[in-house]
Symmetry: C2
């Protein structure tokens, strides 16, 4: 088969808008398809989608990178082969792939063997991908192939953060900073669909406007002086904060959180916080809860929730698979909001 294969990380100090920066390290090339392993299914991909993880790996900013790598954690496709006698019914089905591999038996945390689809395993920016049979799921009936490809990694991460670790209930108030990110956007859509009142923050007015169109009650710019106080006056305290940014914004969460509330952390794009006020934490009986990806149970619950609520992911850009390097560039410059999906044409 053919696939986009990454042979090294980008040279340091490469400018994101520089021409042809990816051509040196990322090649569309022929890759041998090995015999299908027992318990695995082979899927012909119809659509795939980008995540920040793909960019971090391309930039060499991810632990344990191995080359060559076929990236891509999100995919929708058609099952063409199954090496498991009891799972032959999957052949010919249109499927969405759970990107959590080898989670293990503990709902609280992934096992030591845990991997995310796409490095070190081969990912979805390719004609075919092999996954364990248990990672196959039927596509929610109202979604197109492109929409289905926008679900897996970000949807799963947001679902676990919001509902499993965050315990969100209808009628609660939620704050989602960094609303530009894919997981943040999913958390917004999931929380709105669950009947929560959602407020967002960003450094971009247009991202806040998009969030309001998607159902947010309102938003605030971090760049606005006294934004924490202003947000409290508008919205009151929050039962849940779903955070992927951290950094200098993090300490304000212990002001914004309601007594007994939960702060779920799934990322730290702005780095570690400069401080944390423990007295406020314990007097408020607040919870700070780490969350990453999700279990097989979480993925199934996400798809059931999407099916029930007829939620459609916010896809901003659709490009052909051949444009993967350009898509990475677009993700790097960071202006987009919503998923970038790649369509795989038959060749």
């Amino acid at each position: 088969m053919y696939a986009w294969q990454l042979h090294a990380s980008l040279p340091k100090n490469t400018h994101p808008t520089g021409e042809k920066v990816w051509e040196e390290v990322l090649k569309w090339e022929k890759v041998e398809l090995p015999p299908l392993s027992p318990g695995y299914a082979r899927v012909r991909l119809l659509a795939s989608a980008l995540n920040r993880r793909d960019l971090w790996i391309g930039l060499g900013l991810y632990p344990g990178i191995r080359y060559p790598a076929i990236l891509g954690s999100d995919g929708c496709g058609e099952v063409v082969e199954v090496n498991a006698p009891s799972a032959q019914q999957w052949i010919g089905q249109k499927v969405i792939l759970n990107p959590s591999l080898y989670w293990g038996d503990d709902e609280r945390v992934q096992s030591e063997r845990y991997e995310i689809l796409g490095m070190p395993s081969r990912g979805t920016f390719a004609e075919y991908v092999d996954v364990p049979v248990e990672n196959l799921h039927l596509v929610p009936s109202h979604l197109t192939e492109v929409e289905a490809a926008a679900v897996p990694l970000a949807g799963l991460t947001a679902y676990r953060a919001t509902f499993v670790q965050g315990g969100l209930k209808a009628g609660e108030k939620v704050f989602i900073p960094g609303i530009g990110g894919g997981v943040a956007l999913w958390a917004l859509q999931l929380a709105v669909a669950a009947g929560a009142e959602v407020w967002v923050a960003s450094s971009s007015e247009s991202k806040i406007a998009t969030a309001v169109q998607l159902g947010a009650a309102g938003g605030i710019l971090y760049t606005q002086e006294g934004w924490v106080q202003t947000l409290l006056e508008k919205a009151g305290h929050f039962h849940l904060i779903v955070d992927g940014i951290g950094g200098e914004v993090f300490p304000s969460y212990l002001h914004l959180i309601a007594p007994g509330g939960r702060i779920v952390v799934y990322g730290a794009t702005r780095g570690n916080p400069p401080m944390i006020d423990l007295r406020r934490l314990f007097w408020k009986q607040a919870h700070i809860i780490g969350s990453t990806m999700g279990s097989p149970k979480d993925f199934a619950a996400l798809l059931a929730f999407i099916e029930k609520t007829k939620l459609r992911p916010h896809v901003e850009t659709i490009l052909p698979l051949q444009a993967f390097p350009a898509a990475l560039m677009q993700l790097w410059t960071g202006s987009q909001m919503g998923k970038i999906v790649l369509e795989h044409s038959q060749r």
Copy 2:
């Protein structure tokens, strides 16, 4: 009645071992007993016990101090009067007092009206104390009056931190830093009685030795270079950390905690941590959970646990009520481990 009444905080820069430092601000004096309020019981105190809170208030290092104040959150006594028709059966009973006043209806967090017994309400360093009838509990049958007085504030705080917020189960591994403190010692005794494997840390070898006598599997000195690595080699990772110190020790907890584990914070005697590694938090799916005092349900559960396990609190010093200033001094110098209890003789 007579009571120890605090009229001001100690002058700043007073040396803890200086003579007569408390005499200026703390007076044993006659105080008018008002008519008993509806829903309240009047208790003749038989024993009371000190907590760090009493010291912080005496030093002026506590929010919202009002003078004059009768301190004391821990007490055991005999009910002499009840102003509630349906609670007359309490008269003549020997009781232990729940120091959590007006918790409210939410198990997750105290209400805005919440108070701790002893400032602004009148506390237990007195001949009598008035408390709401629902704060009366029978003394566990195997405890002396002195032991009973050592239970309330520290036992309640430790019970909630360890079992309610911390979710400790038999067979789990627990780490308790700052083992000198009253709550830490209670957490040790409760966790050992619940069948957990408990490790402690201190800057004092003798406190570690006492902890081992009380059932700890072992302990480590923070002053030992590489103590985190040494502890991991000896004990492995911990399912639960119960912390009252914070400060520069706190960041090591995200190394010591097992994947999916819980770090419960009930205090911060060493201040706020210099950093917190969010990536380690979310990848380990760890929980950092604030905890303070406990609900009425928690207090009842603590007493039932003590009754069932026949646990006896570790009382280090017994003094007469008249020696309250000397007891404060002893607490201030910080060398003791275990509770300081005051016996109230009939006068």
